[in-house]
Subunit: 219 residues, 2 copies
DNA sequence: CGTTGTGAAATGATTCACAGCT
DNA sequence: AGCTGTGAATCATTTCACAACG
């Protein structure tokens, strides 16, 4: 299994397949078909098969996909068959909402450090996490093998936080600040921007009930 | 200006253009060019021009785009030239983080109601918002002309909350639950799913420094 | 000049449709 | 019969390249 070219939309769907398969497994299902996965996720069966076939031949003609087998494969592909240590930078509203989010750990992401620049919160403990000063960041990121940084600071500070994280060795950044981060090409950035999402909603809604935008779900 | 077909990727970029233009205006810039907008956002100039040309001829050859003019146009197109009343359902971690988010109002979104099903929080006031029981939802959505609902409840409850919101008259839903919502085609849904984003990050990072995924920014 | 708007070409993603396996 | 994997066809989006404009 060398390195297949992965279309970006496919990459996003991989996580969705995994999620749906886990749900089906919880319901006691032993196998699933591309048809079944597709209808659950609003996709065509052909789409599902194309996506999965990129990585190998996981399916069994006449049967479908064996759920435990495919789950294991997807976890390996997505890198969630191991655990990832992450740091949250910014103990404001968003950072605080993220800390107690138990599902993180259940999915293999462990928050092992929290940083903030505000002396008023440094030293306090939130949801079991001690808030540390930014000056501790380089050392802790290295010591605790943190590869993922979560930026939950105001837009004005986001770029310099990103720079600090990258310099310390972080390889992936989840960015909640409404700003485009400029990063080296060997670092991955994924942004969560709910203001943008709200605006998309306003746009689609104001296009009116008979929208001229595609009629497919805006998932 | 009838109803142009708007490619979905274009719709997302429209908000980005508006944001960048506002930043440039704050810096005192009177005009901007497709080249300048493009480099600021990691896009080609041709892309920017194509996107904007869908809605009319806003540019001035040799000059570029007059910033105040284009901002006004984009606001009108996106529907953010007016104010939108929104309701938050779910006063848990995420809901609570959203309530004090001042930027919402600044961008034309006003949280005018908050609902939860937990008797322990109903009646309490969070960030100036009184938490109301779900039974108040239908009436309040109508009375306060709420067109946008923000779902911040656990996945298991999300679909029924969506149904309740839509029945009450909401036309757009911002969904924070990690689940696909089944909605009528006249309702728009946009999802914010940071577990998904984290997994994308893990995927890209584990593909290794020399990723086989596109080398462009993972914005 | 510099910059727009836009057909034409190139690239990318999805769907079709069917041979082949169980 | 039911279902996968996949080449070919279709559809969508981006980039190119250039005439026209101020």
């Amino acid at each position: 299994m060398p390195k297949p070219r992965v279309p970006r939309p496919t990459a996003k769907r991989l996580s969705l397949y995994l999620r749906e398969l886990e749900a089906q497994q919880d319901r006691g299902q032993p196998t699933s078909s591309s048809k079944q996965l597709g209808t659950a996720l609003g996709l065509t069966d052909a789409q599902v098969r194309k996506d999965l076939a990129i990585f190998g031949q996981f399916g069994h003609p006449g049967i479908g996909y064996k759920i435990p087998e495919l789950i294991a494969q997807l976890r390996k592909i997505l890198g969630t068959d191991r655990s990832w240590n992450a740091a949250i930078v910014g103990a404001g509203n968003i950072g605080r909402a993220l800390m107690p989010y138990a599902r993180f750990r259940r999915k293999g992401f462990e928050i092992v450090a929290v940083f903030d620049s505000d002396p008023a919160v440094i030293g306090s403990v939130i949801a079991g996490h001690k808030v540390r000063p930014m000056s501790d960041l380089p050392q802790l990121v290295r010591e605790r093998n943190i590869l993922i940084g979560i930026i939950a600071v105001p837009a004005a500070a986001a770029q310099q936080v990103a720079d600090a994280l990258i310099k310390a060795g972080v390889k992936g950044i989840l960015n909640f600040a409404p700003i485009r981060l400029e990063v080296d090409h060997h670092v991955s950035v994924d942004s969560v921007d709910f203001l943008l999402s709200l605006e998309q909603l306003a746009f689609q809604v104001s296009l009116g009930l008979a929208g001229s935008l595609d009629e497919r779900d805006g998932e």
